[in-house]
Amino acid sequence: MPSVATVGRARASDWANSGERIFSRRLAASHFASITLLIAVVVASILWVSARHNALAEESYERMVRGGLSALETRMAAVVRDYSIWEEAYQAIRDADYPWVYSSIGIAAASDEIGTVDLVVLTDPFRDTEYGWVRGSPERGEAGLLPSPLRETLLALLDGTDPAAAEARTTFARFDGGVWIFAVTRVLPPGGLPEGLTDAEAPRQIHGVRLAGEVLSGLGSHLISSDLRLLDAPRPDLGAAALKNAAGAAIGYVAWARPRPGDRILRQMALPLGAALLIAAIIAAISSRFAVSSAARLEQALADARAADRSKTEFLSNVSHELRTPMNGILGVGQLLELTELDAEQRHLLDVLLASANTQMSLISDLLDLTQIETGNRRLDSAPFEPAAVIREVADLIRPAATGKGLTLEVDVDRGAARPVLGDRRAFKQILTNLIGNAVKFTDSGGIAIGAATRLDATAAHIELKVTDTGRGIDPADQARIFERFAQVDGSQTREISGTGLGLAISKSLAEMMGGDIGLDSAPGAGSTFTVAVSLPVAAQDAAPPLSDRVSA
């Protein structure tokens, strides 16, 4: 049939061209996504490590600067405390011995171990005046170097401290256009102030150091690579530690360029890492391309196979049609002949003819059924029908054959089986016809019992059909094989039982399509029980059967 083959090929190429390459497209997309994700994860990790490095370095810079500031305050306090209990100094101030005060305090403090004390102020409560030197000058000192509010603030730092001990206090303050650190202490004779004097009558000494030059740069010591600088307000691009005055207000900031060790890591790693990622991406892309093209070839092959399958199905259904048409003539004439006056011989000849033609027809039907099932072209209906009615219908259909062999045929169907279910009536009937027909065929004495037990739950009817015969039984070794195509227990050319061997394969496939299965319990000489278990949705009680249900099969 050249026309069929041509049609088949045209269909196949149409189908392939329609490009159902869903799997290879998905594969390509998932490969692309994983490569992108991999690169994104690697880049994000590197960025995170770099940012973390920057943050850690920033923290350690701040810790070092704060440490430097507190060390500076400690040193300033220690130095002034050393000058605190000092008999000679106390007496010299009391006696207004200017030369001694200058040479021992004014000029000496200017070259202190801190480096340089920029400003020294010494109060003289005895005359209600003070000496003040900026880096040791003027020689006699002068009053009013510190403006009044600052001076009072500094002196007040000692309020509440032990007036007889060497107490020292420090603070940062703005002065002379900059930020300074000041330390303040009392000047006392050993043992404290003489009897009868109040704390207000103890001289006080203030040291001031301007936060600039080496004092400022010394704060970060050699550990900080950045130059420290003083700012009035913090800047977002610089790290900073606040300097607080006696009232706790920020009066300035020690600032540094933010350390960026992570950026350096980034710069150093960028080239090798980029190259590695690029190579990885290229390798991944190549292998992905290979995988995708393989998948596409597979899909193409699958599409071709399906198209071939379709054309095969089409061919078979055409062949089936062509085979049925002449059978119509044979069987039609045969049936018409039956209605005429025939003698015994003619009737016998006609019976043989009709039996052969009927066998031929069931073979054609089975082949077409199996082909449709195996190519996925047999789709099951979902229409309401009563299982019990179908069981009785099939039993009534086959009963004459059973009675003719002297066999009994009993039907025992429970009430649940009368409940309408949704399913494929024709498939259900086909399974029953095959099983009951086989039972009659393979049983020579005794009988066949057909049973249906139904369990109903909220949505489904679970039907268990049993077809039991008293036939010859099936050897365990053959039990799995009989559900295969063209299998009969007796495979020899001379077997006594005719049949295509397709009925059980068809029935099993149909039961599986219904979400069920067919089981077999048998032993040689002990008969056989075929059990069909299917679960079908329960139909609404008033559902009318659709047209297809009325189509005779």
Partner: protein, 127 residues
């Protein structure tokens, strides 16, 4: 016009002969059309109660002819039964969708044919 007749639409002479013979044996005298086009014309003229419609025919196929009969005679109680050697699921669905009242597979089973005819014509055949 008689409303109680059967129209056979069939192009194959053997099949036609068998159908005619089977119906005659049961007392019916069917009308005959040789293709879909003729079938539609005969249905319009004779308004049969039952049409036995072959599907694969020249000029106009059976499904088209059935649709055409229903389109032209929407108010007539005409039952159309497919008689076909194509018994695939797809063919059954197509017939359902086209408004066929039933499907008789070829080869024709005489009891099935007669019960279908009785169902649509009423049990008593015309004299």
């Amino acid at each position: 016009m008689p409303q109680d007749r059967i129209l056979i639409v069939e192009d194959n002479p053997s099949n036609l002969f068998i159908l005619q013979a089977m119906l005659r044996k049961h007392g019916y005298e069917p009308l005959v059309a040789r293709d879909g086009l003729e079938g539609v014309a005969m249905a319009e003229t004779h308004l049969p109660r039952l049409v036995l419609m072959d599907l694969s025919m020249p000029k106009m196929d059976g499904v088209t002819a059935a649709l055409e009969i229903q389109r032209r005679l929407p108010d007539q109680p005409i039952a159309i039964v497919a008689v076909t050697a194509s018994v695939t699921d797809e063919q059954r669905r197509q017939c359902d969708a086209a408004g066929f009242s039933g499907l008789l597979p070829k080869p024709i089973n005489l009891p099935d044919l007669i019960s279908t005819v009785h169902h649509h014509m009423g049990a008593a055949p015309q004299a």
